[in-house]
Each structure stands twice: as C-alpha cells, then as structure tokens.
Symmetry: C2
Subunit: 105 residues, 2 copies
C-alpha cells in the first residue's frame, strides 16, 4: 500500500482540491463516523477502478488512511492529523457537506 503524507506535509490546497468533488465529499461524509470502511461499503453504484482513483486522491492529500486487511483495503479519516494541522476545518467541511446533502434529498 502506498505512501501517505506525513502530518506536517499535509497542505491546505491539496486537501481542498481533493475534497472538491461530489463523490469524494460523499466518501468523507461516510468516514466521518470515525470507523474503518471497506472500499465497496462506502458508496454504491461506482465502478471499483473509479473508486480506487478517488481513494488515492484522498490518501495523497492526507485526508484518509488506507490499510490492507486480508483481501480488503480499509479506509478511515485522518481526523487527528487534520484537526492538529487545521483546527476546526474538518468539522466545518463535514458540516457543510452534510448540510448540502440534506438539502438535496
């Protein structure tokens, strides 16, 4: 599995660019529960190769951890790192994403 940036290497512009996609915002909303999720359990109806790309974007920006577990890959949010680096930002982003998702229903 593949590199994750160190906490100190996490750059705001990269975080925002990575979040700047409806599908990746949806992934982050699911991971906001604090748990580890398998690839397929996070979003339905998206091709696996496509999902792999989106997880990679989130991982390279420092937003998620990915770790292998048997034949699966588990994803989780890097809340500690993001909160340390940009206090309050992640919650504001998740709140905004939830608000928008609720308005779309």
């Amino acid at each position: 599995m593949t590199a994750h940036p160190e906490r100190t290497q996490i750059q705001l512009a990269n975080v925002l660019a990575a979040m700047g996609s409806p599908l990746r915002l949806r992934i982050v909303r699911v991971l906001a529960d604090g748990g580890e999720h398998t690839c397929g359990s996070i979003v339905d109806g998206v091709a696996k190769s496509n999902l792999t790309h989106h997880y990679r974007v989130l991982r390279e920006a420092g937003i998620i951890w990915q770790r292998p577990s048997g034949r699966e890959t588990l994803q989780s949010l890097r809340r500690d790192d993001l909160d340390a680096r940009f206090p309050g930002l992640l919650d504001a982003l998740i709140d905004a994403a939830c608000l928008e998702a609720a308005a779309e229903v």
Copy 2:
C-alpha cells in the same frame, strides 16, 4: 462582466475545488478584509492573464464578486452568500489558510 452563480447555485464541491490552489487561497486571504480590490493589488508577481484565469475560477464557483469600475475590475468576497449557504465554512477556510501562511514565513 460575466455571470455569477446565484446563491442557491453555489455548490460545495465547486467552492472547495476553486479554493484548492495556493494562489487562489492567497487571493481569498487578501479579500477576507471585506474590501473591494483591483486585480493587480491583490497579488504581486503573477502575470495578468494568469490572474484573470484564477479570478474567473473563484467567480464561477461563487466565491467572489467581480464588477467593472472604470478601466479596472474590482474583486470582493461573497461572504454573505457563502455564510448563508455554508455557515462557518468560510471562516474555517480563511483561518486554515492564514495558519498555513503564517507557518510558512
């Protein structure tokens, strides 16, 4: 001048994608003072055509107003619209951008 999205058309993913650039974050930090700024007064050392592109990205995402004034174009932050649409988000983004900029000095 050119279209601005309505408040209700402002999409979170577009806002974050537009903010996902160091130069555009710099522009937003300058505009966070609430004033109207001419193109050239916001950032130094960037070609005008390049700046025009970045202002357009911010405008199309609903982050800034642009209005002509004589031979200049004035830019300002759409704070009311962003605060109404995503309460707390703009301040969190500006705080994070200022924190990162301060750490880089």
